[in-house]
């Protein structure tokens, strides 16, 4: 095979009922691709420009989604070598579950501090 190839398929939910901002939706689409093992650890993710064009969103929105995933430890930005997956599918799954937990807590009116105390007590 000639050169490095990066492949990813992304399913972005654009249900009218989804209240989340676009960058969150984009982030969760990429997270799902990692969770499903569609992009393996150390594989490259398409650059923000390509993602934005493919998903029909602003490049800044795509970049914001990628930065969020970097903060979650799922992606790694390497100068000159693109954006790579830094986590296993299970890690992506865990982040996904954590986000669900936080959302659930918010819905129930449980504060972050309370939630952290709750987790530490487990």
């Amino acid at each position: 095979m000639n050169g490095a190839s990066i492949i990813s398929i992304m399913l972005l939910r654009l249900a009218p009922g989804d209240p989340r901002p676009l960058h969150e939706q984009a982030a969760s689409a990429i997270r799902r691709a990692i969770t499903a093992g569609e992009v393996a650890p150390d594989e490259r993710i398409p650059p923000a420009r390509d993602l934005a064009q493919a998903l029909g969103i602003n490049p800044n929105t795509a970049l914001r989604a990628l930065r969020q995933l970097r903060e979650e430890g799922l992606l790694e930005f390497r100068r000159g070598r693109g954006i790579r997956v830094a986590a296993r599918p299970e890690d992506g799954h865990l982040v996904e579950r954590a986000r669900e937990l936080v959302a659930e807590a918010e819905r129930l009116g449980v504060s972050r501090a309370q939630l952290i105390t709750l987790i530490e007590g487990v």
């Binding site: 050169g3 249900a15 009218p16």
Partner: protein, 326 residues
């Protein structure tokens, strides 16, 4: 493949028959030919070069073998396709008439002369007749090549699909790079740029006039770089190909024009070489041998692009097309 076997048979039998006929026809005339014979003419005048009869016959055989080999290469990409067959048989026939004509003209000029210097001239009339006869031979070959069915490998029966949930928007992005093309592109560009510089330097090592040739190298290098990588996108709009580091959009096939899509392995030999190849079997953007995403449009024409993970791209394309049709 059976079709290729028949192509190999046609070109092989032609080559052997020609190689046998050339001495069979010429050698009986040996007693009426000078030794050496005239083999070279410049302009329309008397001969200015000579050689032995054996050498002349060997050169004719070599010419014929090259033409047969050329036909084999020409037909290799799709002997089953009528357009390919027409072209291949036409070139084979035109080549046969041309070879026979060249041999005939040489023998005719030398026949019953005592020395090669007395041989007849090679007039424009004879050359024109030779070309005309070759064209006529090509026409007959083209008509013969058209005989038979226009067949090609059918598209795979059951197109693969990917499930898309309601309200979901699915996108596939595939990339392909050709490292050799990138190297070639940079090498040509660098060499050309150096050439332009050296040509423009006063009293430099290169003559000033060579700058245009060097510039052509740069242009070739940039073209190679532009085709050295590609991004293939499948989304609700259809299939999109963008080439080179600048991601120039070079091809877009809208979803409603796509019939079916699949993945198949193709080699540069099948596509007709590297790069953007337009052939009778369809257009191929070939950056490296191996997995290709093939799309057949509603008109039956095919477009292929070499890209990794083509299977998923094709599946998504099929699913998107079906969901947009309902």
């Amino acid at each position: 493949m059976a079709t290729r076997r028949s192509l190999a048979l046609v070109t092989g039998v032609s080559a052997v028959t020609g190689a046998a006929l050339i001495p069979l026809v010429s050698l009986p005339l040996r007693d009426r030919l000078p030794d050496p014979i005239a083999t070279h003419w410049s302009g329309g005048g008397p001969p200015d070069g000579s050689g032995s009869l054996t050498a002349a016959l060997l050169i004719c055989c070599g010419m014929w073998a090259t033409i047969c080999a050329g036909a084999l290469v020409l037909g290799w990409s799709g002997w089953g396709r009528r357009a390919v067959r027409t072209r291949t048989v036409a070139s084979l026939f035109a080549g046969a008439v041309f070879t026979a004509g060249v041999l005939g003209l040489i023998l005719n000029a030398n026949l019953d002369r005592s020395s090669w210097r007395d041989a007849g001239g090679m007039g424009a009339g004879g050359i024109a007749l030779l070309l005309l006869a070759s064209a006529a031979g090509g026409l007959i070959g083209a008509l013969l090549g058209r005989v038979g069915a226009d067949s090609r490998e059918p598209a795979p029966g059951a197109p693969r699909r990917i499930r898309i949930g309601a309200g979901e928007r699915a996108v596939w992005i595939g990339y392909v790079h050709s490292r050799s093309m990138i190297l070639l592109g940079w090498a040509l560009t660098g060499l050309g740029a150096l050439g332009v510089l050296l040509a423009l330097v006063p009293a430099g090592p290169l003559p000033r006039s060579s700058w245009s040739g060097a510039l052509a190298l740069v242009i070739g290098g940039v073209a190679a770089l532009a085709l050295s990588s590609a991004r293939v996108t499948v989304d609700a709009r259809g299939l999109g190909i963008a080439a080179g580091p600048l991601r120039l959009p070079i091809r877009r096939i809208p979803l409603n024009r796509i019939g079916t899509a699949w993945a198949e392995d193709r080699s540069p030999a099948q596509a007709g070489g590297w790069g953007y190849r337009v052939g009778p079997a369809g257009t191929t953007m070939m950056l490296r041998g191996g997995e290709c995403l093939v799309v057949e449009n509603t008109g039956g024409r095919r477009f292929a692009v070499s890209v990794d993970d083509a299977e998923r791209g094709a599946s998504l394309l099929n699913s998107l097309r079906e969901s947009s049709a309902t």
